[in-house]
């Protein structure tokens, strides 16, 4: 069965939210909120509430980065300081903890930030190619509701979009 992506563009946000709500209420058999993606010029937490729990996994990357930075930072410094074994230390510790805490802290933050960025790029699927239904108006003042449909649900989906005064409908065949 062929699959399609259908996008309706709205300049009235309330109408767009209503489309999402109606699909969420299973007004069209075979479509759920999991089939919906919204595109908007700003973030809309109110839509996220309807779309349900779509969690961000970026904090996991952040935690891994911070832990890695802390561990790597301390080991890096300690291994560098170990080369001082061949030099006179004057009774001072080879690996001094108080001063190493400062640099370990800096590296914790550095790797936390780098891993957070990596997490964002991966989880937000940043480098994927824009589809042919992308509209520049989403960057200005319109909201796009993208619905993933099949041959059975494409017409009801389009009818729903039209019923809510969509400005334009774009569609794309999925391979």
């Amino acid at each position: 069965m062929k699959k399609y992506k259908v996008m309706g563009l709205f300049s009235n946000f309330r109408e767009a939210f209503n489309v999402v709500e109606e699909i969420g209420a299973q007004k069209i058999a075979g479509l759920t909120v999991d089939d919906i993606t919204t595109k908007s010029p700003i973030e809309h937490p109110e839509i996220d509430e309807i779309l349900g729990q779509r969690r961000s996994h970026v904090p996991k990357f952040t935690l891994c980065g911070a832990l890695f930075g802390m561990t790597f930072g301390f080991l890096f410094l300690a291994s560098a300081q170990a080369t001082f074994l061949v030099q006179p230390q004057g009774g001072k510790p080879v690996v001094p903890l108080p001063s190493n805490i400062v640099l370990t802290y800096e590296l914790l933050i550095l790797f936390g930030v780098l891993f957070t960025l990596t997490g964002f790029l991966i989880t937000a699927r940043m480098f994927t190619k824009r589809s042919s239904i992308y509209s520049e108006n989403v960057g200005i003042d319109q909201i796009g509701i993208v619905i993933e449909v099949n041959e059975n649900t494409i017409e009801p989906a389009k009818a729903l979009l039209k019923a809510h005064k969509t400005l334009e409908i774009r569609e794309e065949v999925l391979k």
């Binding site: 400062v102 550095l110 964002f120």
Partner: protein, 478 residues
């Protein structure tokens, strides 16, 4: 008075910001030419110093450090503006920051890039600068990780990386708007930098979380950076430097100079790019109030420092303090006190806060005061250290002055190029601000949406294919 016109159309926001990247006032080009001339002076001075040695900078024992390090601290301090406006105010949901945080973040990045030049210039032997890096050396020499100077290198490197990424991440949705409206080389640049932003809910969700997490990292990082810079002094045993309150004193000074610089650049950008709709008097007032509050904290910490030295019975430290009051550097010290502690009272008066030329001049004086503060930390102590044999009064040479002068040109040039190539007002954040303020005020948020293509009931049914005409002009790639 509102922070922003709540009736402004979203399409108009895009149009105004994109226009600013093409069509600045003549003053912008005058500023660029001035900055290039200033950088030229510094380059000539640096070539001279490089060719004939550090003696021409007047740097000699006991004055190994002077304007270069004072200016280094000044620029590091300046960098705290972005963190304050962007990260701290973001976390506490102060949405008036939205039209101005972008250029404050850019200030952070460029002031760090400027600060980073000074240790290299100060080295003298530029060709040996890689010696400070922790690489495996066949001489078995590693940097001394116990030294605050090495902490500085790590802290500033981390801060520069993090603040540049923070600036970049926050710009991605706006870069996508630029991509959709640009032509020529600009289009290629924005396609690469927008990383394929499509504005879908997955991207927004992860974007917001990423931005918040980075803000959470940046706040302690900024505090640690300036605490570490203060440790360069406080961990020594020099009179006038070995002071417990130095870390908070440095952090307060950094926030103060950053805020003062925000006022200066606010006024300039508002004029250059005709941003009267976005950089409003109400936002300027709020920034001024914030600056005033921080100025008072800084004044208090100054007084605490004087008091603790006075009552601390450290004779040498007391001598340094008295030298600041009465000695050869006294005019600069009192100028610092005047600019840093008296001038900010101009910010306490509503009438003055709303007078833009006055605020511009006051902000320049505040910046001067904060620069003098750093000079007055470094030089009087070196001139009056423990050994009477080393008592000395030193005045910087023209070479030092030229390089310091040029650093302002370098910062200005980086900043001016940035605001011409990238949007200096965050379009999506201003839209959010307008949307949420209208919602909070009980107004219909939809009114601000531009509806050039809204279909009336008489119009034919919509069909796929032709995209509607954009209400936003294109960037011509000029």
């Amino acid at each position: 008075m509102k922070d922003i016109n709540e009736d402004i159309k979203w399409a108009q926001i895009n149009k105004d910001v994109l226009r600013s990247m093409e069509n600045p006032r003549m003053g912008y080009w005058v500023a660029v030419a001035t900055c290039i001339a200033m950088v030229g002076c510094a380059v000539l001075a640096e070539i001279w110093q490089y060719r004939y040695g550090m003696g021409y900078a007047n740097l000699n024992w006991p004055h190994m450090w002077d304007l270069y390090i004072a200016t280094f601290i000044f620029w590091i301090g300046m960098s705290h503006s972005g963190t304050l406006l962007s990260a701290i105010l973001h976390i506490i949901h102060a949405d008036w920051r939205k039209p101005i945080y972008r250029f404050a973040e850019a200030m952070t990045t460029f002031s760090l890039m400027t600060a980073g030049l000074f240790p290299l210039i100060h080295l003298g032997r530029l060709w040996n600068m890689y010696w400070v890096l922790p690489y495996v050396s066949d001489r078995g020499i590693w940097p001394n990780f116990r030294s605050p100077l090495v902490w500085d290198a790590f802290a500033i490197g981390t801060y520069l990386t993090s603040s540049a990424l923070f600036l970049f991440i926050g710009m991605i949705p706006d870069l996508a708007i630029c991509r959709d409206n640009a032509r020529g080389w600009r289009k290629k640049l924005y396609i690469a930098l927008s990383l394929g932003w499509r504005g879908d809910d997955r991207q927004w969700r992860n974007f917001r979380r990423t931005y918040l997490l980075m803000a959470c990292f940046l706040i302690p990082l900024a505090v640690s950076v300036h605490s570490i810079v203060s440790s360069d002094f406080a961990m020594s045993i020099m009179p006038g430097w070995h002071i417990t309150t130095f870390p908070p004193y440095f952090v307060a000074g950094a926030l103060y100079s950053g805020c003062a610089a925000i006022i200066t650049l606010f006024v300039l950008l508002r004029y250059f790019f005709r941003f009267e709709e976005y950089m409003t008097l109400s936002i300027l007032e709020k920034t001024c109030k914030l600056t005033f509050a921080i100025a008072m904290v800084w004044t208090y910490l100054n007084l605490i420092e004087f008091a603790s030295t006075w009552y601390g019975h450290d004779v040498a430290a007391k001598e340094v303090l008295l030298e600041k009051f009465y000695g050869p550097y006294a005019p600069y010290f009192w100028m610092m006190m005047f600019c840093g502690s008296v001038m900010p009272f101009a910010l306490a008066f509503r009438k003055l806060r709303r007078h833009i030329p006055t605020m511009f001049v006051v902000s320049l004086f505040l910046n001067l005061g904060m620069w003098l503060e750093r000079w007055m930390i470094v030089t009087p102590t070196l001139a009056n250290a423990y050994h009477p044999i080393a008592f000395d009064t030193m005045w910087p040479s023209m070479i030092q002055w030229a390089i310091v002068f040029g650093s302002f040109g370098w910062f200005g040039l980086l900043f001016l190029v940035f605001v011409k190539v990238f949007p200096s007002v965050s379009m999506y954040e201003v839209k959010e601000m307008v949307y949420h303020r209208r919602t909070a005020a009980g107004k219909d948020p939809e009114v601000v949406l531009h509806h050039p293509h809204r279909r009336s009931d008489d119009e034919p049914e919509p069909s796929g294919g032709t995209p509607p005409p954009s209400g936003t002009p294109g960037l011509e790639g000029a």
